[in-house]
C-alpha cells in the first residue's frame, strides 16, 4: 500500500481544543485572565522545556487539558463502502506570476473529484479543567456548558470538496471533581473532567481528475420508489431553455431509444401521465384503460387523431429542431414510437482511422470501462481483435511511467508501448498491433457527434463531456406535435 496521511484525527483534535480557547476567569481584583488550553498527554521532554528545565518554574492553574479517550468504529452509520461520489468543479483562473495565489475573474482548470465512502467513527475526547478553587471551576464551567445545547458544530476544514469536515460535539459525561469528599485533600488542584463524543469520518484520498464524463448512460430511469428521475441535469447539464412554447404539448416527455432493433426508432412516454389526464379531462378513459394513458386518446383529444404524415418535433438546446414521424405502439399504447427523419438527426462527425486505406467513420463499436473490459480476453487473443475496432473509454488506463502496462491493453507482441496511456473520454482504435488514440478529448471539436453501434445511441462531445445527443427529458415547450401538416 502506498503511503498517505492527511492528519484527519489531528484536525479533529485541533478543532476540539479550539472550542475551549478564549475562556477567562476573574479574580477578586477584577482582572480577567485567559485560561491556557493544551494537549493533556505531553511528552516528558516538552514538559521539561516548558518548565525551562528548572524545578523552580511554577505551573499555572487554571488550565484545560484535552486528550483522546477512545476511538471506535460507529457501525450504526456504516453504509455502502464502495459508493463513490463525484463532484464537478470549475476553478477560477489564478495568476501564476504572482508569488501568492491571486484568482482572476476568468475560468481556470476544471476538475472532477471522486470521493470514496469514508469510514464512520466515534471519537471520544476528554477535557480536564484544572482549577485551584471551587468558584474558579464554576466560573469556567458556566461559560463552557452553555455551548452544548444539545451539541456544538465543528468543522475540520472549509474545503467545499471535503464532505467529512462537519461534525458535532456532544457532551456526554461530567465528572465534577477529582477529590474525594470529605476533602482531606492533599492537593490544591482540583480536576473536573468533561467527556465529549464526536461522530467523525476517516476518509481515503480523493481522485482529482480532469472534468469530463459521460453523465447519462441511463440503465433505469426510475428511482427505487417508482418515480421518474429528474433528468434535466443529466441530459441538459442544467441548461433549461425557455424557448417559444408550443401550446399543444404542455407536458414533459421522455425520449429514449426503442428496443425494437430499428436504428432511428425511439419511444416517447409522458413523465407524469396524471398531469395530462387531469388537464385534458380524461379521468374516465384513464380509469378504464388499465391506468395507462393511451396516446391515441391524447392525440384524439388534441387534434382529432393523427396520420402517417403527422410529425413530432424535438427542440435542441441550440434551437435546432429534430423531426420524426410517429405511431402509437400497438402493444402498449402509452408509448409513442417515433422514427426520426435521418436528415434531422445530427450527422456523426467523421473520425479518421489510424490505418491507412480505411475510411473515416463517425461510429464506435462500444463504450467500455477499460478496468472491467479486457479486449484480448474478449476477442480470444490480441491477434484476433478486428482491425479498426473502436472503443470509447470511460476511464484512463495505463501510465507512461509503467513499463509493464495493463495486460489487457498490451500490443499484439505482448509489449507495453512507450508513453502508453489511454485517457478517459478518448476513442481508441486497434490498428492491427496496438491501440491508437484517434479522438483526443483535449483537442476535440465541440460538438463532436458519434454513434455507438452497440446500442444505436448517438452521443455528442461538448463542454468537456460526452452527453447523449438528444435523448432524455423534454420539458413542456421543448417538443411539439404537428398532426396535420
Amino acid at each position: 500500500m502506498d503511503f498517505f496521511y492527511d492528519g484527519q484525527i489531528r484536525r479533529y483534535v485541533t478543532q476540539f481544543m479550539r472550542i475551549f480557547i478564549g475562556f477567562k476567569y476573574e479574580a477578586g481584583d477584577g482582572e480577567q485572565r485567559s485560561v491556557p488550553v493544551m494537549y493533556g498527554d505531553m511528552s516528558r521532554q516538552v514538559a521539561n522545556i516548558i518548565k525551562e528545565n528548572s524545578e523552580n518554574k511554577m505551573p499555572s492553574v487554571p488550565r484545560v487539558a484535552c486528550y483522546i479517550s477512545s476511538l471506535e468504529m460507529d457501525t450504526t452509520r456504516l453504509s455502502d463502502a464502495t459508493f463513490t461520489s463525484k463532484m464537478h468543479i470549475r476553478e477560477r483562473k489564478w495568476d501564476t506570476d504572482s508569488s501568492e495565489v491571486v484568482y482572476t475573474g476568468e475560468q481556470g482548470a476544471n476538475y472532477t473529484v471522486e470521493r470514496l465512502m469514508p469510514t464512520p467513527f466515534k471519537l471520544r475526547m476528554k477535557a480536564d479543567i484544572w482549577s485551584s478553587n471551587t468558584d474558579q471551576k464554576l466560573q469556567l464551567l458556566e461559560q463552557i456548558l452553555v455551548l452544548f445545547n444539545p451539541a456544538l458544530e465543528i468543522q475540520t476544514t472549509d474545503n467545499y470538496i471535503d464532505w467529512t469536515s462537519l461534525s458535532s460535539i456532544y457532551l456526554s459525561t461530567l465528572n465534577f471533581t477529582s477529590r474525594t469528599i470529605p476533602a482531606g485533600t492533599d492537593s490544591d488542584i482540583d480536576v473536573c473532567t468533561v467527556e465529549f463524543e464526536m461522530p467523525v469520518w476517516i476518509s481515503p484520498p480523493a481522485k482529482v481528475k480532469k472534468l469530463g464524463i459521460i453523465q447519462t448512460i441511463i440503465a433505469n430511469i426510475f428511482t427505487e420508489d417508482g418515480d421518474v428521475q429528474s433528468l434535466e441535469e443529466a441530459v441538459y447539464n442544467e441548461r433549461k431553455g425557455n424557448a417559444q412554447v408550443n401550446v399543444n404539448a404542455r407536458y414533459p416527455i421522455l425520449l429514449f431509444k426503442s428496443n425494437n432493433g430499428q436504428d432511428y426508432d425511439y419511444d416517447v412516454t409522458l413523465v407524469d401521465p396524471w398531469q395530462a389526464v387531469v388537464d385534458m379531462g380524461l379521468e374516465k378513459e384513464y380509469k378504464t384503460g388499465n391506468k395507462k394513458l393511451d396516446w391515441n386518446v391524447i392525440l384524439e383529444k388534441l387534434a382529432g387523431g393523427w396520420t402517417a404524415s403527422s410529425y413530432v418535433y424535438f427542440k435542441q438546446p441550440n434551437g435546432y429542431e429534430m423531426a420524426a414521424t410517429f405511431a402509437v405502439n400497438p402493444v402498449d399504447p402509452s408509448i409513442l414510437v417515433v422514427t426520426f427523419d435521418q436528415d434531422t438527426i445530427p450527422t456523426n462527425t467523421s473520425i479518421d482511422s489510424s490505418i491507412s486505406g480505411v475510411a473515416a467513420r463517425g461510429t464506435i463499436d462500444a463504450i467500455i470501462d477499460p478496468f472491467k473490459f479486457n479486449p484480448i480476453d474478449h476477442w480470444g487473443g490480441a491477434s484476433s481483435i478486428p482491425e479498426g475496432t473502436r472503443y470509447l473509454l470511460l476511464e484512463t488506463i495505463g501510465d507512461p511511467n509503467n513499463t509493464d502496462g495493463p495486460e489487457g491493453w498490451k500490443g499484439s507482441d505482448g509489449s507495453t508501448q512507450t508513453s502508453y496511456e489511454l485517457v478517459e473520454n478518448s476513442i481508441v482504435e486497434w490498428d492491427g498491433s496496438k491501440w491508437v488514440e484517434i479522438f483526443d478529448p483535449d483537442n476535440a471539436d465541440d460538438p463532436t457527434y458519434i454513434q455507438n453501434l452497440k446500442t444505436g445511441i448517438q452521443y455528442k462531445w461538448t463542454d468537456g463531456q460526452w452527453l447523449k445527443s438528444f435523448e432524455g427529458e423534454y420539458d413542456s415547450g421543448m417538443w411539439r406535435l404537428d398532426l396535420n401538416p
Binding site: G28, Q32, E55, N56, D135, D158, N159, V191
Partner: protein, 468 residues
C-alpha cells in the same frame, strides 16, 4: 541516733515546671542559636487576610474593609480564600529541613510534581517575634538557597524557589526535657501560579534591585527598578533626571509571574493551536470563492457582455467599504468596459450548507454600503451592510435581486474583549452567533433616562437599583 530528713520542705526534682523557667529559656536560647548557626534563610510572605471576592459584599462573601485579619474567611459557602492579601514586606526567618531527592513523578501535564513536599522547622519564639504571629497555612516562603541560576531562560534571572505552607504543627524533635516545645514544623508544597497567590506573583521579579519611587536627582544604573506613576520600570541605560516612560532608558519591569510561571509559554501554545484551527477552518461552512460559475444564456451558451462604454465609474469596494485597487494600484470600478467579456453569474453553482459569504461569484467587483448604488448596470453587485447577516444583491436590469447572505462566521469562541488591541487574541474575529449575541454583548441602552447595560445575568436583571 537516727537522722531524719524532712522531704516536704525540699523542692521536687522535676524538669517540668508549670511556668517556663530558666531551664526553658536556656534551652530555647540554645535552640535559637543552633538555628542561627545551622539554619538557612527563609523569606516569608505573610498572609494577612482575604481580599474582596468578585461577588462583592454579599452575606456569603463578606467584605472586610479595613480589617485585615487572617482570621477572616472570604467565602462562607465554599469555605475558601481565593483572593489573598500578603504583606508587602518580606520577613526573614531561619529554618531547617532535610534535603531529600525529589522523585519527578510528573502528573498529567508533566508539570505537577507529586512528591516535592518538604517539612521545615522554625524556632517558635523567633517566628512569633518577627512575624507577630505564628506561621500559618497560606504563608508563602521562599528559599534563597534554592535559586536556579541555570534555567533555560535568557539567564537574566535566577528562578526563585517558592513554597506555600499547608500545615503547621509542633515538631516532635522540638520538645526539650522541660516538655515545652521550641520548634514548629511546617508542611510546605511548591507554589503554583494560581489566583490565591496573585498578589505575590504580580510583584516585580527582581525585588532586590528596587530603588523606590523615582527621584529626579538620583542617578540610576541598568537593572535598577524604580516606581513612577504606580508602574515599576527597569532601567536599561544609565540615566539621571529623565522621567519614565522613555523607551531609551526604561522598560516595564518583569513581574514574578512573567519570569517564574509557565503561563506565558502555555498561552503561546494555546495561541498556536488557535492559529492552526483558524488556518484549517477559518470560518464555518465552505469557501467557494475560488470556484468559477459559468453564466449561461437561455440557449445554454456562455453569456457574454458587449460593452463599449466605461462611463459608469462607480468605485468597487470590499465588504468593509474600502476602495479596491488592482495590482497596478489603479482603482477598480463597477463599470462594464470594453474589456468586460463574461456576464456576471446569476447564481452560485456551488451550493450547500453555509456557503454564502457575501462575495459575488467569480471574484466580480462589488460595492458595499447601507444603500444601493445609483444608476446600476445589469450584472452589478452590491453588498448591503445594513442587513445582518450582510446580504448580497445583483441588479438584473430592472431590480436588485437577493443573491446570498454572508452566513460564514468565525468559529473561535472569542469575544470583543479578547480581540481588542493589546488583548490576548488581538486582531482575530469575535464569534457571532445567536448564542454569542447574548454573551459578546457590550451594548448599553438608555431606558427611562438611565443607561442600562443590555447584558445582564438572569438572576439580577430588573432588580431595583439605587439611584445614582
Amino acid at each position: 541516733m537516727q537522722k531524719t530528713v524532712n522531704t516536704s520542705t525540699m523542692p521536687r526534682l522535676s524538669l517540668y515546671r508549670p511556668e517556663k523557667g530558666n531551664d526553658y529559656k536556656f534551652i530555647d536560647k540554645t535552640a535559637w542559636e543552633m538555628f542561627q548557626v545551622g539554619g538557612t534563610d527563609v523569606l516569608v510572605h505573610k498572609y494577612i487576610g482575604p481580599d474582596t471576592a468578585i461577588q462583592g459584599n454579599t452575606p456569603s462573601t463578606p467584605e472586610y474593609t479595613g480589617d485585615d485579619n487572617p482570621f477572616n474567611i472570604q467565602d462562607m459557602l465554599f469555605l475558601e480564600n481565593r483572593d489573598r492579601k500578603y504583606d508587602p514586606d518580606v520577613y526573614m526567618l531561619r529554618g531547617v529541613y532535610n534535603v531529600t531527592d525529589i522523585d519527578f513523578n510528573l502528573s498529567q501535564f508533566g508539570l505537577f510534581l507529586q512528591n516535592d513536599t518538604i517539612f521545615i522547622t522554625f524556632h517558635i519564639n523567633d517566628t512569633v517575634e518577627k512575624l507577630g504571629r505564628k506561621i500559618m497555612s497560606g504563608d508563602v516562603i521562599e528559599l534563597p538557597h534554592l535559586k536556579d541560576e541555570y534555567a533555560l531562560n535568557d539567564l537574566q534571572f535566577a528562578l526563585k524557589r517558592f513554597y506555600v505552607i499547608e500545615e503547621v504543627n509542633r515538631a516532635a524533635e522540638g520538645f526539650s526535657v522541660t516538655w515545652y516545645p521550641h520548634l514548629y514544623r511546617a508542611k510546605c508544597k511548591p507554589l503554583v501560579d494560581a489566583q490565591e497567590y496573585k498578589q505575590i506573583l504580580d510583584g516585580i521579579a527582581d525585588a532586590e534591585n528596587f530603588k523606590g519611587a523615582y527621584n529626579a536627582q538620583s542617578t540610576y544604573f541598568p537593572d535598577d527598578i524604580i516606581e513612577f506613576g504606580g508602574v515599576k520600570y527597569t532601567v536599561i541605560k544609565q540615566v539621571t533626571g529623565v522621567e519614565p516612560p522613555n523607551t531609551e532608558y526604561y522598560r516595564i519591569a518583569d513581574t514574578l509571574r512573567e519570569v517564574s510561571s509557565t503561563y506565558e509559554k502555555e498561552m503561546q501554545i494555546t495561541q498556536a493551536i488557535l492559529d492552526q484551527a483558524e488556518e484549517d477552518a477559518p470560518k464555518s461552512g465552505y469557501d467557494t470563492t475560488k470556484f468559477y460559475t459559468l453564466q449561461e444564456d437561455e440557449e445554454g451558451n456562455t453569456e457574454l457582455v458587449t460593452a463599449d462604454s466605461d462611463d459608469l465609474l462607480i468605485p468597487s469596494t470590499d465588504e468593509n467599504g474600502n476602495p479596491l485597487f488592482d495590482e497596478n494600484g489603479e482603482q477598480i470600478y463597477m463599470a462594464a468596459t470594453a474589456d468586460t467579456v463574461y456576464r456576471s453569474p446569476e447564481g452560485d453553482a456551488y451550493t450547500g450548507y453555509l456557503t454564502g459569504d457575501g462575495v459575488p461569484g467569480n471574484g466580480a467587483p462589488f460595492s458595499s454600503g447601507i444603500a444601493f448604488p445609483l444608476n446600476p448596470m445589469e450584472g452589478q453587485f452590491a453588498l448591503r451592510t445594513d442587513y445582518l447577516p450582510n446580504r448580497l444583491f445583483r441588479f438584473n436590469g430592472t431590480r436588485w435581486v437577493k443573491m446570498e447572505d454572508n452566513v460564514r462566521m468565525t468559529m473561535s469562541n472569542l469575544g470583543g474583549s479578547d480581540t481588542l488591541d493589546g488583548a490576548t487574541f488581538e486582531g482575530k474575529d469575535e464569534r457571532q452567533t445567536q448564542k454569542t449575541s447574548f454573551i459578546n454583548n457590550d451594548k448599553t441602552n438608555t431606558i427611562a433616562g438611565k443607561d442600562i447595560k443590555e447584558k445582564q445575568s438572569l438572576s439580577k436583571a430588573l432588580r431595583p437599583k439605587a439611584d445614582e
